[in-house]
Amino acid sequence: MLTATRVRTPDVATAARSEHALEVRDLHITFPGGVQALRGVDLTVGRGEVVGLVGESGSGKTVLGLAALGLLPAKATVTGVAALAGIDMVAATDEVRRQARKLHAGAVFQDPMTSLNPTMRVGQQVAEAAGSLEAATVLLDRAGIPDPQRRLTQYPHELSGGLRQRVMIAMAIAGNPDLVVADEPTTALDVTVQAQILELFRELRDVTTSFVFVTHDLAVAREVADRIVVLYGGRVAEAGPTEEVLNAPQHPYTSALLHARLGRHSRRGEPLPTLPGEPPNPRQPADGCAFAARCAHVADACNEALPALEIVSPNRSIACVRRAQIGAHVTRLRAVEEWPPTPAYTSELALQMRNVTKGFGRGKARRVAVDGLDLDVRKGSCVALVGESGCGKTTTLRMAVGLERPDEGFVETGRGNPPQLVFQDAGASLTPWLRIGDLMEEPLRNAGVPAKERLSRVKDTLALVGLPETVADARGAELSGGQRQRVALARAVLIPPTLLACDEPISALDVSLAAVVLNLLGRLSRELGMAMLFVTHDLAAARFVSDEIAVMSAGVVVERGATEQVLAAPASDATRELLAAVPDFEAAR
């Protein structure tokens, strides 16, 4: 073994002269259980290039990133080539892979807390990658960490989320690697922090290090990437220079993704365009184009064979057999549903919170989350509660629905059925061992609805959110992410509440699913005449759903007013900061 290593090591070191930082050829990856994560991917990352790998969950983007680093689990079946700086990470031995990673690669993952060693000082960890504490200091400085000397002696838990991610980035760029894979590095961060980290990535670009930036967010990709590669169903749908792909998408999926996105073009009171159907099932991939089932341009040819990735111009390639016919005239995705008109204005309140204070802990450890807050929600209206994480949004929401009691002040909901909550993580809000039907009957049973009526009510409500009856027999884990979201919504509106509170219901969702959920919320609130309290840090979502915005900061509402007014002419610093941090898609155009 030792001799093998000695022979190999120089190879690994000199291989860096290869032309590309990463070259992926016909890569197939299958996991046990028949999940085909990648189904023939070609991808090249040139020296110093930043490539945005965009796709929805299940598209294979993360797996592709791991394959480039040679970090796939041993049980995965891999064929094809994934050459990192000229070293094929598929065929190489573990030792070569390890060496290649050490010399040529860096990685940044979504959650820095799980990637950093909690028992080791930051300095030691970075020095492990950098070689010395001096080098570590330089790196931390380069990663934009203020006062790097002091940070060296701190532990990861003493740093904020943004600083931790900067530490991860510092470790990733140690030794000027050929390739850094960043997998959703800003998804777990606040908008304001996300903006700073994206800025850092732009600063770090240089001639020697290339970045593969994995993200589900087109706006984030636009901020950092030279080139965008769109993945769908484990294959590349479209690749090309960022501006070209986003301004003139040629693949119907790219176009759909762009139009389903919330943005300034989204009009309040009108449903968003959505993709029909469900994302492809990686266990049973289609014989032809994976997107065919949801595509407006579908023809017989689409289902016959896998579309090849054709190079259409020097930098641009598209995998669509109908490319010639579609040309530049991709059908714009349109909204398929219609909403009833909004309920008439009423001054009656669905929620009234007065001088509400809530703190957690006792004595010195006591932390006040909400500090003398006033908030009203009129019947049939929607109020968006926005603010940075830690400002007390969620606590306010929990008090509004009665899950927490205020220490001081009062919370009153209007007459009618008790308020309900749509959780951020719909899957986690379903009791794992109970069937969906069982879970949905529960509120009816508790309200004293007779058994016969319960079943039909459950069926009706499932139909209302567009789910078949059969879902009632499944458990949460057997459903797709989209189905779980719908079930969670159906359960909340089973007995139409006076107030529907939503806790970041779309922040963890893919673009196309987020549009579906927002549409459902919009339609249901109108049909059932519910008031909504919508907690979010996403101003685009707030603009789309709400009549009024309440901006929270440090436990109080610092600004409130009609949505358009607040966003057009923010009166407080907190609002201005939030607005400035949004990676604005339209503004960048």
């Binding site: 259980g33 008790p418 959780f423 986690a428 508790n446 567009g466 057997e478 797709s480």
Partner: protein, 288 residues
Amino acid sequence: MAVADPVVLGAVAERPARVRRRLRMGAWELGGLVVLVLVSLIAIFAPLLAPHSTTQPVSAGPFAAPGHGSLLGTDDLGRDLLSRTLYGIRSTWLSALAVVGSGIVIGSIVGTVAAMVGGFVDTVLMRVTDLFLALPGPVLAIVAVVALGPSLPHTLLAVAVVWWPWYARIVRGEVRALLARPHVDAARLAGTSRFALARRHLLPGAVPAVLVTGSLDIGNLVLTLSGLSFLGLGAPPPTPELGAMTANGLTYLFGQPWVALVPACAVFVLAFAANLAGDGVRDLLDAV
């Protein structure tokens, strides 16, 4: 129905995976489970399986070696060892199950109440639990036997009193972790009562942890109960008990070793199989 597909596919694809997980359990653990099932059957059907009375001498006479008119031989009073061992397994096994069962019931109630109510009640219940945890089981058993007279129920009572606190702690921990999950909030918003919340949304989540501990505990209990019986703290003679039979046979260990070894081996097999099976149950539940 394109929408329904993932449900169906999910269920179908899960089946082979589960089968494989089951096979992944080691051969030893699987063997332990098989022995456990056999032991349970023996415990239930001992009256039917035993060829002779447990208290009356058989025709082979005292100290008959195994095979000579009696399959496993006879003891000093000419009683059939096979029959006595089968009954001994029955009493030890059922006693162990009873203690674990009572521990799970009492522990689940105390642990759930402590976790759900919290605050002062939690503190009091947990300190009481600690108090019981501090009592030494064998000593308590001696006290119980001295105070109440020698009988199996008295011994079991004493053991059960020191056994439940473990389950109370496990259930409390599991329930506290589950309470932080959104599904509990969702159930609360559905208007579910506290009792139904515990029964439907919390306790089922604690089942795996309790089951693993319980199955590993049975081996411990077999040893503890046999040990107490060995010391004369079980049912009074002539009731067949594995510990007491071994103790009785010690006198003849060098002349007629089978008298002591047959019940002793039964204890060994029971404890060993229970431990292996416990590991097997843990593997099974970990994988799911």
